[in-house]
């Protein structure tokens, strides 16, 4: 924010790179979060307050929404930040970020997310993986497929007594989906936490 121009290296990333980084994300909440994260990481120059402080606050709010704890007031805050940033930030970079957020807000995505629904299935925090005990044959294939050791259980061995039913430890589960094709019996299901809807 200093007045005298400093001899700083040209920013490695510019707005094009930010756009490129979010190109393949479909969920507007995820996309917006990534966009602001990328914007803050380099192209944001920090020379004016609305953009420097505003985009940071927007990121805080976006993270809440994508973590599934967002509320209507978070969306309202992002709306206000984007509106004011567009009007008051000093350069085109801040204004572009504001425009991006405003366009994202026009979609249904934010409303849906508040209701607990991520249409694009890209918000991991919105869903939970579960083993259906009735369908599980305790074969252990899912356990082998899980890279994160998130599936707990002990499979049955012939002529030995005792086993532990298979369960997914939510703290470890990163919702990568690798276990789904591994189960030959379709015993693992994905449910939206808030709505309880089967995905």
């Amino acid at each position: 924010m200093s007045e005298t121009p400093q001899k700083e290296e040209a920013p490695k990333k510019d707005m094009k790179d930010v756009l490129a980084a979010v190109e393949n994300i479909k969920c507007m909440v995820q996309k917006s979060q990534k966009f602001v994260e990328e914007f803050l990481s380099e192209p944001m120059c920090g020379k004016c307050h609305p953009c420097a402080l505003g985009s940071y606050e927007a990121l805080v709010r976006l993270k809440r929404i994508s973590a599934g704890i967002g509320k209507q007031e978070d969306v309202a805050a992002i709306q206000r930040i984007a509106d004011d940033m567009l009007e008051s930030s000093r350069c085109i970079k801040g204004k572009d970020t504001a425009k991006f957020l405003l366009n994202a807000l026009k979609t249904e995505a934010f409303r849906e997310h508040l209701e607990g629904h991520c249409e694009e299935r890209e918000c991991p925090a919105y869903v939970i993986y579960r083993v259906i005990p009735e369908k599980c044959v305790i074969c252990g294939l899912c356990q082998d497929a899980c890279k994160y050791n998130a599936i707990m259980g002990q499979k049955t061995v012939s002529y030995r007594s005792g086993y532990l039913p298979f369960e997914i430890r939510q703290k470890r589960c990163v919702k990568c989906g690798d276990c789904l094709p591994a189960c030959p019996y379709g015993a693992i299901e994905v449910i939206e936490i808030k709505t309880g809807v089967l995905v």
Partner: protein, 669 residues
């Protein structure tokens, strides 16, 4: 002049004025956190956005110049919403402890939060846990409160002290010193300019906690008499004691800088070396006595000594004091009365005129070495650097290696008189008109290439200002016959006033008085004399127990500038009012009162000096005429040493001692 409308009010301002200043002229305040008057607007805070009728997007008022016929609206819904938004964001990262915050009442953020009804931020609270730098007794830095306006960084850079800088961007940005070292290890001069500009509680005088807030203070505009800069100050007092001192020059002027001595030296008012009562030597020891007794003794000795008595004074006394002291000398019929001025200047040089340093576009420093780090005329150094950073040119002529030379477009190293002659000749060679005698005198001179470059800059300048050491004034002033103004820069605040009021010697000069034998010697103020001169009777009139005072026969307690009332004439020849900020300590009396009392004890009566006399005296300026290019070698003096000696009591009696010890330790290490 440009005519425009601000919120419907017609206003006419000078061309080049920005919208914030223009609005101020009609009493409209445009909110801002990062704008500093007199400096370029950077548009960081965006609070100053205003709408211009007929244009779509709002513009920042701090960096938009007025245009003829413009009509601006400062408080439309759109810009007010943006201001609320930004204030809201800043409040979200600012402690909400206004009830115990020292800056309450003057905090700009508090003001705007109040105006925009932001009780608590609607955004998520951010806390950083930055440590506070409280490792020095001058400036407390608390980054938790910082609003990232960068005012401190910019003022520090404008003065070339370059201590503060940003680290990081956006929310995580922080004002830091190099390598995050404490201020005292970062080349900080502790001038405190950053305190003056901080809009919040991030930078503050170190001892302000629980010592009252702005609305509790009485404010007195006065002048610091510690050195030749004679800076305007604004003194804040509470319950009769001085709490803090700020720069007092108008907002936005280049002279709005004071140094550590001016800002923090007031501790010495109540230091242990302060003299509270008159003292008299009885049986080899100084003992407390009454004013009557002290005055009677002094008067008796002065009267007996008559023309063999001598009076010497510091030039940090007021105009009124000077005139009365001269009259007192006449009363006791001695011609031997002089001030410290004659140690570093001829009387004539002190009659030099003024200059407009605010608009000067070239400074020529001849033989002076203003230096903020050595605390030699620090405010003049800062003013010149501010102007140079703003585009003015600088030519430095010096035989040594002054720090400011690094800032010069041309640095002419070598004998100052020779260099001045070379520039003079270069100017004539380039076709400048000069008096005939000067052309003749300079004919044999062959200017060097750098002198030619300096002359080019001088010719190109619209308003060159020559600042010279008093000993070089006559030579330097010759250049002002071609163009510009020349000013002799004294080492003491009221040197020009003392001379203007006639406190000059018709008999022996200062040095002769000190080195010769006298029957009685009356020494006023803190003079650079530490050993008792050969005299039958020594009176020292001072505010502090100087080394000389400990050897005196009678000590009269006087008041320092902050406790005195009167006028002074600063280095640019302007009369400035010195106002009493607090009551005298103990039995101390103002110099003038003591002089009148002594005169009365001698049997004469002196009339107080009238303001009109001061005004008249200040107006008489010597006209510049050509004189030979010569150095007044008798008046060459080591400025740093001189200032150290005359400010010893202020420095040793205040927290500046901490800084001095640190500097000494650094030198020995």
């Amino acid at each position: 002049m440009v005519n425009l409308k601000i919120d419907g009010k017609e206003v006419t301002v000078a061309e080049g004025t920005n919208l914030i200043d223009a609005a101020e002229a009609v009493g409209v305040h445009i909110p801002n956190l990062c704008y500093m008057k007199g400096m370029k607007g950077i548009g960081a805070c965006r609070l100053c956005l205003v709408e211009v009728e007929g244009s779509k997007a709002p513009v920042i008022a701090c960096n938009t110049k007025v245009k003829e016929g413009m009509s601006i609206l400062t408080a439309t819904d759109k810009v007010v919403e943006i201001r609320k938004f930004v204030t809201d964001l800043i409040v979200s990262m600012h402690p909400l402890d206004c009830m115990t915050c020292t800056k309450a009442g003057t905090c700009n953020l508090q003001r705007y939060a109040y105006d925009f009804e932001i009780k608590e931020s609607s955004f998520s609270r951010k806390k950083f846990g930055y440590p506070t730098d409280e490792s020095n007794p001058f400036i407390k830095r608390d980054p938790e409160y910082c609003v990232l306006c960068s005012r401190c960084i910019r003022i520090c850079k404008a003065q070339d002290t370059n201590v503060l800088e940003f680290a990081g961007r956006g929310v995580g940005a922080k004002v830091v010193t190099g390598n995050e070292r404490p201020l005292q290890e970062s080349g900080c001069t502790f001038c405190g300019s950053c305190i003056d500009v901080c809009p919040v509680n991030a930078l503050l005088e170190a001892d302000r906690w629980r010592r009252g807030r702005e609305w509790e203070y009485g404010k007195t505009g006065s002048v610091c008499l510690s050195c030749g800069s004679g800076c305007s100050i604004s003194v804040s007092t509470k319950d009769g004691s001085v709490i803090k001192i700020n720069a007092g020059a108008p907002d936005g002027s280049v002279e709005r800088t004071i140094c550590a001595v001016g800002r923090f030296g007031f501790d010495s008012l109540n230091g242990e070396m302060r003299i509270a009562h008159p003292m008299k030597r009885v049986g080899g020891e100084l003992q407390e006595t009454t004013w009557d007794d002290a005055l009677k003794t002094v008067a008796g000795h002065l009267k007996t000594a008559g023309s063999d008595a001598a009076i010497v004074s510091s030039a940090a006394i007021l105009n009124e004091d000077s005139a009365l002291l001269k009259k007192l000398a006449e009363t006791i019929k001695t011609k031997n009365v002089d001030s410290t001025v004659s140690l570093y200047s001829s009387y004539d040089a002190m009659k030099s005129g003024g200059a407009d340093i605010e608009h000067a576009d070239l400074f020529l420093l001849a033989g002076i070495e203003p230096d903020q780090w050595k605390r030699v005329l620090p405010a003049i150094d800062a003013a010149v650097r501010k102007r140079v950073n703003n585009g003015a040119k600088l030519v430095v002529i010096h035989s040594g290696d002054p720090k400011i030379a690094a800032k010069a477009s041309v640095f002419l190293k070598g004998d100052e008189v020779k260099m001045l002659m070379e520039i003079g000749q270069a100017l004539i060679a380039k076709g400048a008109k000069a008096p005939k005698e000067m052309v003749e005198a300079l004919a044999p001179v062959n200017p060097s290439d750098s002198a030619m470059t300096a002359a080019d800059a001088f010719m190109a300048a619209k308003m060159p200002v020559i600042l010279s050491a008093p000993s070089l004034y006559k030579a330097a002033a010759n250049l002002s016959l071609i163009k510009g103004e020349a000013v002799a820069v004294p080492l003491e605040a009221n040197a020009k006033g003392v001379v203007a009021m006639g406190l000059t010697s018709d008999g022996r000069k200062f040095n002769e008085i000190i080195s010769s034998s006298t029957k009685a010697l009356y020494a006023v103020g803190e003079i650079p004399v530490t050993k008792r001169p050969d005299t039958g009777f020594l009176v020292v009139q001072a505010s502090h127990m100087t080394e000389l005072a400990t050897q005196a026969d009678v000590v009269l307690p006087s008041t320092p500038a902050l406790e005195s009332e009167g006028t002074m004439i600063d280095w640019l020849g302007r009369v400035k009012k010195v106002n009493r900020a607090c009551e005298p300590a103990g039995d101390a009396k103002p110099n003038s009162n003591i002089f009148m009392a002594v005169a009365e004890a001698v049997g004469a009566s002196l009339k107080p000096v009238k303001d009109a006399d001061v005004k008249k005296a200040a107006k008489t300026k010597a006209k510049v005429a050509f004189s030979a290019f010569k150095r007044d070698a008798a008046h060459d003096v080591d400025a740093e040493k001189f200032m150290n000696e005359t400010n010893k009591m202020t420095v040793n009696g205040s927290r500046l001692l901490w800084l001095k010890e640190l500097e000494c330790a650094a030198v020995t290490a």
